[in-house]
């Protein structure tokens, strides 16, 4: 009645090939997606690595009355164009702070001007051929070299690429995140606790739930519009400040924290609640003493992921003006400030090649922080995860 295995197998050949083709195609999709990540990260590393190096040259600096008046005179004419103008700018201040320097001549390493930096890194630059010869000579004498770039990690933005750093933006990010988490962590956890443990199942609760899900999918730039119209124009919160940025991001992060906290609360089995009710706990006591402690790792994991998301957000901050030029970090909540992704955005729009390198360098720093945060979240999850 039916066919033999041999006959069926012969018919199946083509169908098996098609099935295998599907497997390879979908596998290709996955591999390519992973490859994007590899290409992407290596592109950033290649571009950003030079940002962690900085050209310095060893020159004789003369500290005297004349160089206090005209700082450029402190360095001999031959090397003058090779030294960062930022160095000359701070020279008089340094001499005031340290009067003992007056009247001495010191051979010291100073930060080189950006074109020298670019020349040593083998990039296109504006050095004249005679200047190149001078730099070549210095290199031969061991008086010009690429050193680890501490400036990048200690200063704020600057019009001079060799002096631009990520520190001010990092502090701005910290202040902004402080505001964000201070606002959205308590509110988010409270909302989640209310919805999971207390709320009656009525229309209002359903509206709140639908609303939270929708809020999670609202484009981030619209939160910027809200910040601009409500916080800045209506409440008069200072523009560009970590306060307004933090409050804007808090509203954006709120649904993330609510949703992950609810998931964490939901994963606590009802048997624990029933046991606590059984020994006479009130609802709040059950939540405070039994449900929250057990679900805390889950809540923290979700919050860290929300924090990482907020930290990488740029669009709403541009709208509330947090793309300011900030050379000096300020530790207040109301002064103009910038954040790391906004600093990257600013650098990316500068035409000089030296800033392209800063852009990628800033990205590497930002990614390192974010990967650290995500790894922390994963570690927390794995360490404290309980299966019921």
């Amino acid at each position: 009645m039916s066919q033999s295995f041999e006959e069926i197998s012969a018919q199946l050949k083509k169908r098996h090939r098609r099935s295998a083709r599907m497997k390879w195609l979908t596998m290709g999709a996955l591999i390519l997606s992973a490859a994007f990540l590899v290409v992407f990260i290596s592109d950033m590393v290649v571009r950003g690595w030079p940002a962690f190096q900085q050209a310095q040259i060893q020159v004789d600096v003369t500290y005297n009355e004349q160089s206090k008046e005209i700082p450029l005179a402190a360095v001999s004419e031959e090397f003058r164009p090779l030294v960062s103008r930022g160095f000359f700018r701070i020279l008089p201040l340094r001499m005031e702070d340290n009067p003992a320097l007056m009247g001495t001549t010191k051979t010291q390493w100073v930060i080189a001007d950006s074109p020298v930096d670019q020349y040593l890194k083998g990039n296109k630059n504006e050095l004249s051929s005679s200047q190149r010869n001078v730099v070549d000579k210095l290199v031969k004498q061991g008086r010009a070299e690429l050193k680890f770039n501490t400036t990048f990690f200690t200063t704020g933005d600057s019009k001079m690429p060799e002096l631009a750093g990520i520190a001010a933006a990092a502090i701005g990010t910290m202040m902004t995140m402080l505001v964000t988490m201070a606002v959205c962590f308590p509110i988010g956890v409270m909302t989640a606790v209310y919805l999971e443990e207390f709320a009656p199942d009525n229309k209002l609760t359903q509206i709140i739930e639908i609303n939270i899900n929708n809020l999670a999918a609202v484009p981030s730039i619209l939160f910027g519009l809200l910040g601009l119209a409500i916080y800045i124009s209506f409440f008069g919160v200072p523009r560009s400040s970590p306060l307004v940025g933090g409050l804007t991001l808090a509203l954006m992060t709120l649904p993330v924290i609510i949703i992950s906290t609810r998931a964490a609360l939901r994963s606590v089995p009802d048997s624990i609640r029933h046991a606590a009710f059984g020994v006479g706990c009130s609802r709040w006591q059950v939540v405070r003493d039994h449900v929250l402690p057990v679900s805390l790792p889950g809540i923290l994991t979700g919050s860290i992921i929300g924090l990482a998301q907020a930290m990488g957000e740029t669009a709403p901050l541009i709208i509330v003006g947090m793309v300011a030029f900030i050379p000096e970090a300020s530790m207040t909540l109301t002064d103009a400030s910038t954040v790391m992704p906004a600093q990257i955005f600013t650098w990316a729009s500068q035409p000089e090649a030296a800033f392209a390198e800063k852009t990628a360098g800033g990205i590497l720093v930002l990614l390192a922080v974010l990967i650290f945060l995500n790894a922390l979240a994963v570690w927390l999850r794995n360490k404290f995860e309980r299966r019921w």
């Binding site: 308590p186 709140i208 619209l222 669009a315 930002l366």
Partner: protein, 418 residues
Amino acid sequence: MSTNIVFLLFCAVLVGLGGVAFVLSRAKASRVRASGTLMHAQPDQYGWFAVLTTAGPALLVSALGAFALLLLGAEIPVLYLLAAGLIIAALGLVLGLKQVRPDFHARRAIESVIRKLLAAAATISILTTLGILISIVGEAISFFQLHSFWDFVTGTTWNPGASFLSAAGRGDEGGSAAQFGSVPLFAGTFMITLIAMLVAIPFGLGAAIYMVEFAPLTVRKAAKPVLEVLAGIPTVVYGVFAALTVAPLVVDIAGLFGLDASYSNALAPGLVMGIMIIPFISSLSDDVINSVPSSLREGALALGITKGEMVRNVVVPAAAPGIISASLLAVSRALGETMIVVMAAGMRPNLTANPLEDMTTVTVSIVAALTGDQEFGSAQTLSAFALGLVLFIVTLTLNIVSVIMIRRFREKYRVNNL
């Protein structure tokens, strides 16, 4: 005294009063209990209740006062306000102490306050949505009072720059008046979203199918974190990648075929946005495909169907509502994505079907309108809110449709599993 010090002093006194309230009430309750009377609550709970009656009304009054002071411009001297707050706190303390009676349910009172606090927190999310709506709708209405809604929806020229001149009373010198025809912006947005979806849906769905249906457990375990990292990269970083790496590459490759591409072509941001959305689609589809009941897979395999046929004819159709729902959410994300297009797409409104030309999007125009040195009330800034309103409505609709579809999927399989 500066306001900061006054404020700190106020807080310190309030905390002090709270502490006093706690200690006194607890001591009183302990005394009552020690005397042998049965009480409805623990001494600690009476203590906490007294803290609530002390600090709660005082804080509320001060907050309301501050609100009136800052927003309504009421002339209340700060010192009076704070003094009033402290007096209320002292009254509250007395009241709290009075309530330390055996027949008073201190615990129940505390819990009802906590419950109300939690409910208040939950309404903040509603207030946020209302805030978005009010801020956007309000400004959008002001915009439509200046410019016709019909021109906004059907006009094909977006030229807000001229409004600056007319605002300065030099409208005639600029030649043409400002024009706010949003069609080219939406066309550009649509084009870039389309390119992104053409990348993201096949790759994201393919990766999800492979991970659920074909991959060995080890591959699955290794691939998930990779996709999570891809999803966690900030959009500004993708923007840099699109502008510095992909856009020149597109120009070079187009050059090989003798095509002329702009450096701010629509293809580069579209492609990079697609890459950005891959993990989004793959993780959502992964969940959906995983939740297709395995009995369907077994049913198909038991008929002598190959695995590929099973995936294509049984699993994917069963998961289709969920996959469509994920794709709609992805479209909504692509429409609202800002940084990639701000950095890599053009600024020139351009109505074209050629992805190698530069074109601009809604989000780019919003950013452009709000980052200039414009007065807040000018037509150009207001136009950003009008665009924002449209964006909000479109994304909201997409989200709602997607939620309905995914709900249908869930219900279907709960029923089907019997």
